[in-house]
Symmetry: C2
């Protein structure tokens, strides 16, 4: 039996009671932190809270050596794989689950809080007004991948907000600079842009912490703001309902003049 257990957003107390029970009943407890990290805890505190020793796996263990490291054990024993957020948000876990099923291993998923559902509420924006999400990634072979920018353009065309996940250690400042860099790439090619400097963004630092930092402003101001340590998340704002405007002002200190009439 292979049980995927989500650790949630921030620290050792974001696992559910159901997740804790699965960990306590397991014969072997693995964790991986390369798809998502818990910023508010350490392995030692996690082991103490869960009352179990945890073996931390590398990306290679999960993606290349899954059969020897994880699946062989799961054939005979109750194996738990812990990971940040909701366990099935990462493609690599879906992949591992399918391999387990192919080998006749029973699988189970124990959900946990995820940035996908938490971020809209943290900003006070309405979940059903979010379009497709995207990840801002660092330059690759001298070019910045343009998907996040194109996603913002597509969503805004339909009045929708965009959740932008950042690479594990990327800051809001770096994320914004990459978006501005994509705009410059597009301008050099003579392509249409959405004038990213005029779009309100919300920056969220350490979602799930006791006091996450949430700040809404235009990119130029937001990238100078001190959000502290990652993980950081960005939201590009689309059309705003008046309750959403209120929320951005009260929950995220948005200057009213950036939110339009």
């Amino acid at each position: 039996m292979l049980t995927f257990v989500g650790l949630g957003l921030h620290d050792e107390a974001d696992i559910t009671l159901k997740g804790l029970r699965a960990v306590r009943e397991a014969d072997v407890v693995f964790a991986e932190f390369y798809t998502s990290r818990l910023a508010g805890t350490t392995l030692e505190r996690l082991e103490a809270a869960l009352g179990r020793r945890i073996r931390v796996l590398t990306r290679e263990d999960v993606e290349k050596r899954a059969e020897e490291v994880i699946l062989r054990e799961a054939r005979e024993k109750k194996v738990v794989l812990l990971c940040g957020g909701d366990p099935m948000a990462a493609t690599t876990h879906i992949d591992l689950r399918l391999r387990a099923i192919d080998m006749g291993i029973e699988t189970r998923v124990i959900h946990a809080p995820s940035i996908y559902s938490a971020a809209p509420g943290i900003c006070g924006l309405q979940s059903y007004k979010f379009g497709k999400s995207a990840t801002i990634a660092p330059p690759y072979r001298g070019r910045i991948p343009e998907t996040p920018y194109d996603t913002i353009m597509l969503n805004r065309k339909h009045g929708l907000h965009t959740l932008l996940l950042l690479d594990v250690s990327m800051t809001i400042r770096e994320g914004i600079e990459l978006l501005l860099g994509i705009e410059a790439q597009k301008r050099r090619r003579g392509e249409a842009t959405c004038n990213i400097g005029r779009i309100p963004f919300v920056g969220i630092a350490r979602a799930g912490a006791e006091k996450p930092i949430v700040r809404a402003d235009l990119p130029a101001a937001l990238k100078e703001y001190d959000f502290g340590e990652p993980p950081h998340t960005l939201v590009a704002v689309g059309d705003l309902h008046f309750v959403e405007k209120e929320a951005l002002m009260r929950l995220a200190g948005a200057p009213p003049e950036i939110l339009g009439p």
Copy 2:
């Protein structure tokens, strides 16, 4: 202090350790179940698991009488409001939080598993390939609200999947019949349709339960399938990556011929 605590998806064990701690430390514990219900438990079992008496609030208590019922208490005491899913997914809770802030009451949010993040993983579909979500609602003044249908059309135009939430007690069968009804409305007006009968859908019953039922098929077949008791959720499928096709076949029993070449 007003703390919003999510109860997660299904039963009394879907709250996080952090949520449980907030409940145990509270002076007053309220819950509301009209925005979302926990199908896998009862009030008695919830009270036993949390070790506290819970006062269940009506929609009127939360939306019309919040000041007397909740906020007055929260001025002086530690008040917890429990609700299904992630607490900030419902607009009414964002509204209540803003009112509390206006009255100078400190607020806090403790996240929990949500159908928004759980549903993609349950089907084995990739989170970032979901567009805007929508809710299927019953007919109003003789006409079925068309937003969910229009949302599917918009998302599919861009190859994206659509999460369709159903009214608290609505079944997958009813949801599909309403979508077919919207298509008939549109045809009578001579408008473009997306031929909903040819789109693969995934039905999910009781997300978060030990064994949720997950089934992918065309609408005509899916609406005859026995999903058991609500809550039910639907996903309208967009373009599929080959890993997603594999996942729909293994995790949701999709007949391969409906998934395209």
